[in-house]
C-alpha cells in the first residue's frame, strides 16, 4: 500500500511524465509558449487524465479486449468539452494562441495507454490518485516551461509586459525541445544527488 502510494507520488517529480518518461513532449515543445497556454494545456490535461483513468478502472475491465482503446479515446474526446468551456475563460484568444495542441492531448499517450496499462489494474481511488499525481507533474513542467519561454520570448508573464523581449526565438518549437532537454538533465542531476545521499545514509547507518 505504502509503496504504491510512493510510486504514484513519484509521478510528480522523479517519474515526471514529461521530463523522465518522455511522454507528452510535442505538445509542450510546440504549444506551451506562454503561461496562458500552459494553463489551457494543464486544464485540458486534467480533464483528459483523471476522469479517463477513473473510467478505465471502473468500466474498462468489462470492455472486450480490442475495443477499450476506442472507448478511452471517445471518452477523453467527450471530456474536451468541459475542458474547453473552462479554459475559454482564461482569455478571449486562447484557442487561437494555443492552436490544436490542447485538443491533441485527448489522444496523447497518457489517457490512451496509461489508462489501459496502469489504471485498469488499480482500484478507482488509487487510479484517481495516480491520475492527479501525473497531472501535477505535467502542470509543474508546463508552468515552468511556459513562464520561461514567455519571459524570454516576449518579456511578459501572463500577458503583462515586464521587460523587453530577451530572446525572441525561445517561442519556437526547437527551443521548446532544447529547454525540455535541459530541464530533464536538471531532474537527472537532482535524482543523482538524492541517490548519492541515500547511499551515504545507508553507509552511515
Amino acid at each position: 500500500m505504502k509503496s504504491e502510494l510512493k510510486e504514484s507520488l513519484g509521478y510528480i517529480f522523479f517519474k515526471n511524465p514529461v521530463l523522465v518518461l518522455g511522454l507528452i513532449i510535442g505538445h509542450l515543445a510546440a504549444g506551451d509558449t506562454n503561461l496562458q497556454n500552459a494553463a489551457a494545456l494543464s486544464i485540458t490535461f486534467f480533464f483528459v487524465t483523471v476522469p479517463v483513468m477513473l473510467f478505465a478502472s471502473t468500466i474498462g475491465k468489462k470492455i472486450p479486449a480490442g475495443f477499450n482503446l476506442v472507448c478511452y479515446a471517445l471518452f477523453s474526446a467527450a471530456m474536451l468539452v468541459p475542458a474547453y468551456s473552462l479554459s475559454g475563460s482564461i482569455s478571449a484568444t486562447i484557442f487561437d494562441s494555443s492552436g490544436i495542441y490542447p485538443a491533441l492531448l485527448a489522444v496523447s499517450t497518457v489517457p490512451i495507454i496509461y489508462s489501459s496499462k496502469i489504471a485498469e489494474k488499480q482500484t478507482p481511488i488509487k487510479a484517481i490518485f495516480s491520475g492527479l499525481c501525473i497531472t501535477a507533474g505535467f502542470i509543474i513542467t508546463a508552468v515552468i516551461l511556459g513562464a520561461a519561454r514567455e519571459f524570454l520570448g516576449s518579456g511578459s508573464l501572463w500577458g503583462f509586459k515586464l521587460a523587453d523581449a530577451i530572446y525572441p526565438a525561445a517561442k519556437l518549437p526547437f527551443w521548446g525541445f532544447i529547454l525540455l532537454g535541459f530541464m530533464a538533465a536538471i531532474v537527472n542531476w537532482i535524482k543523482e544527488i538524492f541517490k548519492k545521499s541515500e547511499k551515504g545514509e545507508e553507509e552511515g547507518a
Binding site: L19, V20, L21, G22, L23, I24, I25, G26, H27, A29, A30, G66, F67, L69, V70, A73, L74, A77, A78, L80, V81, Y84, F95, D96, G99, I100, A103, L104, A106, V107, S108, T109, I112, I113, K171, L172, P173, F174, W175, G176, F177, I178, L180, G181, F182, A184, A185, I186, N188, W189, E192
Partner: protein
C-alpha cells in the same frame, strides 16, 4: 494535371518544410517509442498513412458543416476522434474477418497506430486552415511519410550517441530531446523568418 501538381507540392511541403516532428512537434513520444524498434518504423508509417487518408476523406465534408459553428475549436477535434474511432473499428473487424492469421501481429498494434497525436494533428491542421480535398490528402500523406523519415533519422542519431562520451546527467531522454531540437533548428532554417501559428 494542376491537381496532381497541387497534390505533390503540398506533399513535399508537408514532408520537408512542415515536417511533422521537426517543425510541428506532433507525436514525438510515439516516435521515441519507435526509435527503439527500428524494424517497425515502416509498418507504422504505412498504417499512419492509411489512417490519415481514410479519416481525412470521411472527415472533410463533416468539417465543412462544423466549421461555421461557434464551438468549432472543440467540436472539430471531437468529430475527428469519432471518425478515427469508426475507422479503427472498421479496420479491426475487417482484419479479424479477412486476415485472421495476421491479426495477432497487426490488430494489437492498430490501436496505438490510430489514436495518437500524429494522426489527429495531421487531420486537424488542414481542417483548421480549410484546405481543399486534394491538398488535405497530399498534406496527410506528406506528413505521414515525414514521420517515417524523421523516425529513421532520429533512430540513427541515437545509435550514434551510444559511442559519444555523453555526460551522465544528459544520458537518455535529455540528449535525445536536445538532438531533436537541433535537427528541428536546422529544418527551421528552411522555413524562414515567419513564426508558426
Amino acid at each position: 494535371m494542376s491537381y496532381i501538381f497541387q497534390f505533390l507540392t503540398m506533399m513535399l511541403t508537408a514532408l520537408f518544410v512542415e515536417n511533422i516532428i521537426f517543425t510541428r512537434a506532433l507525436g514525438t513520444s510515439w516516435m521515441f517509442y519507435l526509435t527503439k524498434r527500428p524494424g517497425e518504423i515502416i509498418k507504422y508509417t504505412l498504417l499512419l498513412t492509411g489512417v490519415t487518408t481514410v479519416s481525412g476523406l470521411i472527415g472533410y465534408p463533416l468539417n465543412g458543416i462544423l466549421h461555421g459553428s461557434a464551438m468549432r475549436h472543440v467540436l472539430v477535434p471531437v468529430m475527428y476522434i469519432a471518425v478515427m474511432a469508426v475507422v479503427y473499428i472498421a479496420a479491426y473487424l475487417l482484419i479479424k474477418k479477412f486476415l485472421p492469421e495476421k491479426f495477432e501481429n497487426l490488430g494489437i498494434n492498430l490501436g496505438t497506430a490510430v489514436f495518437n497525436c500524429a494522426a489527429l494533428g495531421t487531420l486537424l491542421i488542414p481542417a483548421n486552415a480549410r484546405f481543399d480535398l486534394i491538398t488535405t490528402l497530399g498534406y496527410g500523406i506528406g506528413m505521414s511519410l515525414g514521420f517515417g523519415f524523421a523516425a529513421i533519422v532520429v533512430a540513427y542519431g541515437l545509435t550514434r550517441l551510444e559511442y559519444c562520451r555523453v555526460p551522465k546527467i544528459f544520458r537518455g531522454i535529455p540528449i535525445a530531446l536536445i538532438y531533436l531540437g537541433l535537427l528541428s533548428l536546422a529544418f527551421y532554417g528552411l522555413v524562414g523568418h515567419q513564426l508558426p501559428t
